[in-house]
């Protein structure tokens, strides 16, 4: 039997996975989400410990700060894209880590402590609520617009979409997700220090998305579950478990580079369930499943 705390961390990781996923929806890669996670953890921590505010307010502050800083970071970052943006976000995360290493107000290198109050139901209430929101948005006009930006930005802008706004929105939403995850994490582990938010913390969300599948909301959940739970099940392997874990991830990606759960599977699943329920005739599947976006006729 696994420790319940593993499931709490899994919930935090799901939120981190979505933070990467939401930014990926507009075709951008962020390898700096640990920076936003750290910002959320520290601002919420300062709010509850130093200012004595309740946890709910702390979480709200973390979300607002995360979204605002995501927006500010996104503004200049929108001049750049692809690998340039990915590297700019890595740089951002390093700067944030360095800021907290040198910031005496929050204990600098030693760390900052006193946060508590995150419970399993709280984490999963938020995960379920945000997951439903993302699922609800999956076939919305907004999601389709983001998809258009991802497939081809030039075409999207000729269709009259405000690509700058869409990219900023997805980037800052992703930042808010990471910030919320950081706030929850901080109030669970009681003690935070800058090295908790290093480079690997930024890379893990990309792991969840790549393993679970980057096309659906469910994918990052599966990925977070695999990455969080596998090392637990590898406990008997003792000090070999990280090695085996790394090899397992490589094997998983080699066998299913498209991720464990793809949009095709989701469509089949939805159709299967509908057929089972017998509503397939009343509602045509076309309105429920997303059509595959055709490959653009040319590459720039």
């Amino acid at each position: 039997m696994l420790d319940p705390s593993v499931f709490l961390l899994m919930g935090v990781n799901i939120l981190m996975g979505w933070s990467f996923y939401v930014i990926l929806m507009s075709g951008q890669f962020s390898f700096g989400n640990a920076g936003f996670m750290a910002l959320g953890a520290y601002t919420a921590g300062v709010a509850t410990v130093k200012l004595g505010l309740p946890l709910a307010v702390g979480l709200l502050i973390a979300v607002v700060v995360g979204a605002a800083i995501g927006w500010l970071v996104g503004l200049p970052a929108l001049r750049i894209r692809g690998v340039y943006l990915a590297l700019a976000t890595i740089a951002f995360a390093f700067l944030v880590e360095n800021l907290f290493i040198n910031l005496d107000y929050t204990g600098a290198q030693v760390g900052f402590y006193g946060m508590s109050g995150t419970t399993l139901p709280l984490v999963y209430a938020l995960v379920v609520a945000l997951g439903l929101l993302l699922l609800r948005l999956q076939h919305s006009r907004l999601a389709r617009s983001l998809q258009a930006v991802r497939e081809n930005e030039v075409v999207a802008s000729t269709l009259g979409l405000n690509t700058t706004y869409l990219k900023l929105l997805s980037f800052s939403t992703g930042a808010a997700f990471a910030s919320l995850a950081g706030a929850l994490y901080a109030h669970y582990i009681y003690f935070i220090s800058p090295e908790l938010f290093g480079f690997f913390q930024s890379i893990w969300p990309a792991f969840y998305v790549a393993i679970g599948g980057p096309e659906t909301v469910i994918g990052p959940i599966l990925g977070a579950a695999v990455v969080t739970l596998l090392p637990e099940y590898f406990q008997p392997l003792k000090e070999w478990r990280l090695l085996v874990f790394g090899l397992t991830v490589m094997a998983l990606i080699a066998v299913r580079p498209q991720g464990l759960y793809t949009r095709r599977m989701q469509e089949r699943l939805v159709q299967g369930v509908l057929a089972l329920v017998g509503r397939a005739r009343r509602r045509t599947p076309e309105t429920l499943v997303s059509p595959k976006v055709a490959e653009p006729p040319f590459h720039n």
Binding site: L24, G27, F29, P76, R79, I80, R81, G82, V83, Y84, A86, L87, A88, I90, A91, F92, F94, L95, N98, I101, N102, E153, G198, F199, I203, A206, F207, V209, A210, I211, P214, E239, L242, L243, F245, G246, L247, V249, M250, I253, A254, V255, P257, Q258, G259, N300
Partner: protein, 292 residues
């Protein structure tokens, strides 16, 4: 004093440059980031340690061991991380698979050599030369000559040999290169092998400079070389050399005149400045197409 700092900057900078060239070779051809690269770099130091300390080989043979190790690791990265996802044209899966490979390499180093830095035996006699402005020891001289020799060799190979033409052609336009009869598969494999060798040798040179093989250099020096790659211009080998020296200089100067707390950040601040004002990099002429 300033002369000594310049010498340090030169050694650090050429090291950054060598690692960055390895990144840029793979990126130029596949448009993908290889996150196993910094760990091959760290492993280079340990291969030298294994050669000279554990196996008691003479220095040239130990370097040969490092080269073979670098080739094997480069080929393994291509085979296990990048080839399986090739047909998808997806940048995320291979990048993440290479992170997993980096994790595996970290664990292997920790299993074989422990997670603490290992001290290298003295490699070259301790004589040092006084050049007026600064003193240079024999080992520093060897490191400098090897570093710049390697950079010149890579440059020569890329611009003067058939394999180099093939590499640059595939980086420019993969499909056109294939139409013109370039063996793309072999060229990709060559890029990975070359990048692995450069990383391993850079790791060896760094270990020689520090006098120890340190597993932590992967996340510090190794990642900073990623910033160096962009500062120089993606996929641009000469740019990577120039940017490496520049970042080395900035790094050493921050350490000397500011504070240790900010020494690691210099490269990243420089990266952000370059991205804001000249996103194509110092020597870059065009922006890479939108992919990672």
């Amino acid at each position: 004093m300033i002369g000594q700092q310049l010498l340090n900057a030169l050694m650090l900078g050429s090291n950054y440059a060598l690692v960055a060239i390895g990144y840029t070779l793979v990126f130029g051809i596949l448009n993908m980031l290889n996150f196993a690269h910094p760990n091959v770099f760290a492993l280079g130091g340990f291969l030298l340690f294994a050669g000279v300390a554990s196996l008691a080989l003479p220095f040239p043979l130990a370097v040969l061991l490092v080269i073979v190790g670098g080739v094997v690791l480069g080929l393994a990265t291509e085979l296990f991380c990048f080839r399986p996802a090739e047909h998808l044209h997806d940048e995320l899966a291979p990048a993440i698979s290479s992170v997993a490979f980096a994790l595996v390499l970290t664990e292997v180093v920790a299993k074989v050599w422990g997670s603490e830095p290992r001290r290298l035996p003295p490699l070259v006699g301790g004589a040092s030369f006084d050049l007026g402005l600064f003193q240079v020891s024999t080992i520093q001289l060897v490191i400098l000559i090897l570093s710049f020799g390697l950079m010149l060799a890579v440059d020569w190979m890329l611009y003067r040999t058939r394999a180099g033409y093939a590499l640059r052609a595939v980086a420019e336009r993969r499909d056109v290169a294939q139409l013109l009869g370039v063996n793309v598969r072999a060229t990709v494999v060559l890029a990975f092998a070359l990048s692995g060798v450069l990383a391993a040798l850079a790791g060896t040179l760094l270990a020689m400079r520090l006098g120890l093989a340190d597993p932590n250099v992967a996340l510090s020096y190794g990642l900073r070389a990623l910033a160096v790659m962009v500062i120089g211009g993606l996929g641009n080998v000469r740019g990577a050399m120039l940017a490496g020296l520049l970042v080395g200089l900035v790094d050493v100067m921050t350490l000397a005149f500011l504070s240790q707390a900010y020494s690691g950040v210099a490269a990243w601040v420089l990266l952000l400045l370059v991205l804001l004002f000249k996103p194509s990099g110092l020597l870059g002429t065009r922006l890479q197409r939108e992919s990672i």
